[in-house]
């Protein structure tokens, strides 16, 4: 319990959204959950079969033909964001710390309006399959694509490891399956969805899961509120009574100094706008109008989901905490307190049992598993696109690859990424991986986002500036994470961190912007002059969509 709490309280908390860590125990085989999960798998494989017949060209594979509606895409984006760890992690944080859980979920939400105002429609108007299309629009293809692809693959792999390890642990807890079996199962299903069904299958799997997760969470929140006549004051009062402290109703110590607070805010905000699997979704809609609608719906769904997890966390305090049914007696005998079976991350799962019995417990467990599958599929597709579209087609074949060959390369990449993910998932089982999602966000915020943003808005950006500044941001982020408390102390077991802050984004994002600015304005080459000249045409396309990729009819 102590280790789990410690992990929860340190870096994990910030990215509770994404990484499930800590010790877990294998539970007894949960048959109703397994049956419901099998139904989900059957249905999604059916969708994959349907999608496979419609996935004929590279455009179908990467962007589902560009025919996804704004509402569907909003749901899929929300699905990418509402990972199992986000559902269980944030409700666990609310359960353990009350109000602090709400603070973190807000950080994850507020990047969305910025994405809408600054990049969504421009991205749609300029890009084809990956965000590197936009970043390299008027710059030299080879260096910029290579850097963007590197940034994408690194972000995806770090994120994938966190998801795979989380998946293995969660499935041990929920289904009573072995860790290795769980990781292999997730890897194999994900390879099937992505290689056969491409973006179309990945999107629909995500939409269905988002719908199931939102429905399940809504039911739980309503069931909790019904116990208290839909009166929040009564719910909070009971929770305070249970916890014997009013500290759960106010900010605690998770964000203490202003530098950390701002740095975390920057990582979450700009990191979201630099995640390749999220950016890729903007190419699946037909035009800028639908791209905007996607963000509007996504923000609504995600915000609603975070309000639900807040209620669920408090529901767990009043209905699970100190409920003898969920008490871990063995742990209590050693550590004291009121530990629950499986640790705090199980708070929402126990609550589902408390409000809906065995059947609903099975449903929520199956949804949690489905969630992992959907999220890793989206990640893998984004990683495979960076390999096939950016590295293979643009860098190696210099834009002369034919679509069929490019698609083949991305399918092979998917299989390889899947195997790598399984391997790393198993290799990292007992490692402290709490820093990984933090690092992924830091890299996305410090390398991917600044290049993308400045390529859209700053006419004087040059290849040299983007390449050197972007690399500087990436390196600064990576080095500061390693020297900071999450790796230097928690992983490498040194006594004190060389870099005192857990979140490097404030420094690494600044380094990237300053680096890009400096190396661009000092670039006097002929090439730089041409790149600056090309801005006008790019700006017109980004603003009006003239010349943008359209949707294909099916």
């Amino acid at each position: 319990m102590k280790t789990l709490l410690l992990v929860l309280l340190t870096s994990f908390a910030a990215f509770a959204g994404e990484a499930l860590t800590g010790e877990v125990e294998k539970q007894a085989l949960n048959m109703s959950a397994i049956i419901m999960f099998l139904i989900f798998v059957g249905a999604t494989l059916g969708i994959t079969y349907w999608a496979a017949k419609r996935t004929k060209t590279a455009k179908d594979f990467y962007t589902a033909g560009g025919g996804i509606t704004g509402f569907q895409n909003g749901m899929a984006i929300a699905g990418d964001y509402m990972s199992a760890a986000s559902f269980l992690g944030i409700s666990a944080l609310v359960y353990a710390k009350g109000y602090d859980g709400l603070i973190y979920s807000i950080g994850f939400l507020v990047g969305w309006p910025i994405i809408l105002f600054m990049v969504a429609e421009q991205l749609r108007n300029l890009g084809k399959y990956t965000f590197a299309d936009v970043a390299s629009y008027r710059l030299r293809q080879t260096p910029i694509r290579t850097l963007a692809a590197f940034g994408s693959i690194l972000t995806v792999v770090l994120y994938l490891i966190a998801q795979m390890v989380g998946a293995g642990k969660l499935i041990q807890l929920l289904f009573g399956l072995d860790y290795e079996i769980a990781v292999i199962l997730v890897g194999v299903l994900m390879i099937l969805y992505v290689t056969f069904g491409g973006m179309l299958a990945t999107t629909w799997v995500q939409i269905i899961k988002a719908f199931l997760l939102l429905s399940g969470a809504t039911f739980m929140a309503i069931a909790v509120m019904a116990h208290y006549d839909f009166n929040f004051e009564t719910l909070f009062a009971t929770a305070v009574q249970m916890k014997e402290t009013t500290s759960i109703m106010a900010p605690g110590g998770l964000v203490s100094d202003p530098v950390s607070a701002i740095s975390l805010g920057i990582a979450l905000m700009f990191g979201t706008a630099g995640l390749p699997h999220i950016l890729m979704r903007f190419f699946t809609v037909s035009d800028a109008k639908e791209a905007r609608k996607s963000v509007f719906y996504a923000t609504g769904f995600i915000g609603y989901f975070y309000i639900l997890t807040f209620i669920i966390g408090f529901g767990a305090i009043v209905m699970v905490f100190q409920n003898p049914q969920y008490l871990d007696l063995a742990k209590q005998a050693v550590d004291g307190g009121s530990p629950i079976l499986g640790g705090d991350n199980m708070a929402a799962i126990h609550l589902s049992h408390a409000v809906g019995g065995d059947f609903f417990l099975g449903f929520i467990s199956a949804v949690a598993f489905a969630t992992i599958l959907a999220v890793v599929s989206g990640l893998t597709l984004a990683g495979a696109s960076a390999i096939s579209h950016d590295l293979y087609a643009s860098v190696i074949r210099k834009g002369k690859a034919d679509g069929m060959m490019e698609m083949k390369v991305s399918k092979v990449s998917t299989v390889i990424l899947g195997i790598v993910a399984i391997y790393l998932g198993i290799a990292f089982e007992d490692q402290n991986i709490a820093f990984m999602v933090g690092l992924a966000f830091a890299i996305a915020a410090s390398a991917n986002f600044p290049i993308l943003f400045l390529s859209m808005y700053w006419s004087k950006l040059t290849t040299r500036g983007a390449l050197l500044g972007g690399s500087l941001g990436l390196l600064t982020a990576a080095v500061l994470v390693v020297l900071g408390p999450t790796v230097w102390v928690d992983v490498l077991k040194n006594a004190e961190a060389i870099f005192p802050y857990k979140y490097p984004a404030l420094f690494s994002v600044s380094a990237a912007f300053i680096g890009i600015w400096f190396f661009s304005i000092t670039d006097k080459s002929d090439n730089a002059a041409k790149e600056k000249e090309a801005y006008e045409a790019q700006f017109i396309r980004s603003q009006t969509g003239i010349g943008a990729e359209g949707a294909v009819e099916h």
């Binding site: 709400l102 807000i106 950080g107 106010a250 964000v255 006008e536 396309r541």
Partner: protein, 104 residues
């Protein structure tokens, strides 16, 4: 895009109006969101007790609850405001610009 078309569009008064107004609108909303969020974060960093004040004497619910939910709602409302104007006014202007670019 041909240079000739670029020159035509960049001097089109509709295009100038579109980019000027959209950029002003987008930056205003961005700043509003940044002020709301970083304001919230800075209160937590400097004086968290403000959010821990009970809503009314004797209540358990604190000021932080409506404020937190308010930040979530503000994100949603701001995106709604942007989409509403962009999908009507800005898209009409864009359609006009496109028609002119194609027609001539």
């Amino acid at each position: 895009m041909k240079q000739e078309m670029v020159d035509r569009i960049k001097n089109d008064p509709d295009f100038l109006q579109l980019t000027r107004e959209r950029s002003k609108f987008a930056w205003t909303l961005t700043i509003v969101m940044l002020v709301i969020y970083f304001g919230f974060v800075l209160v937590i960093a400097f004086d968290p007790s403000i959010l821990g004040t009970p809503l009314s004497a004797g209540s358990v619910t604190t000021v932080g609850i409506p404020v937190g939910v308010g930040v979530i709602l503000s994100a949603f409302i701001l995106t709604g405001i942007y989409v509403r104007r962009a999908n009507t006014e800005f898209d009409e202007l864009t359609a006009k610009i496109k028609a002119k670019a194609k027609g001539e």
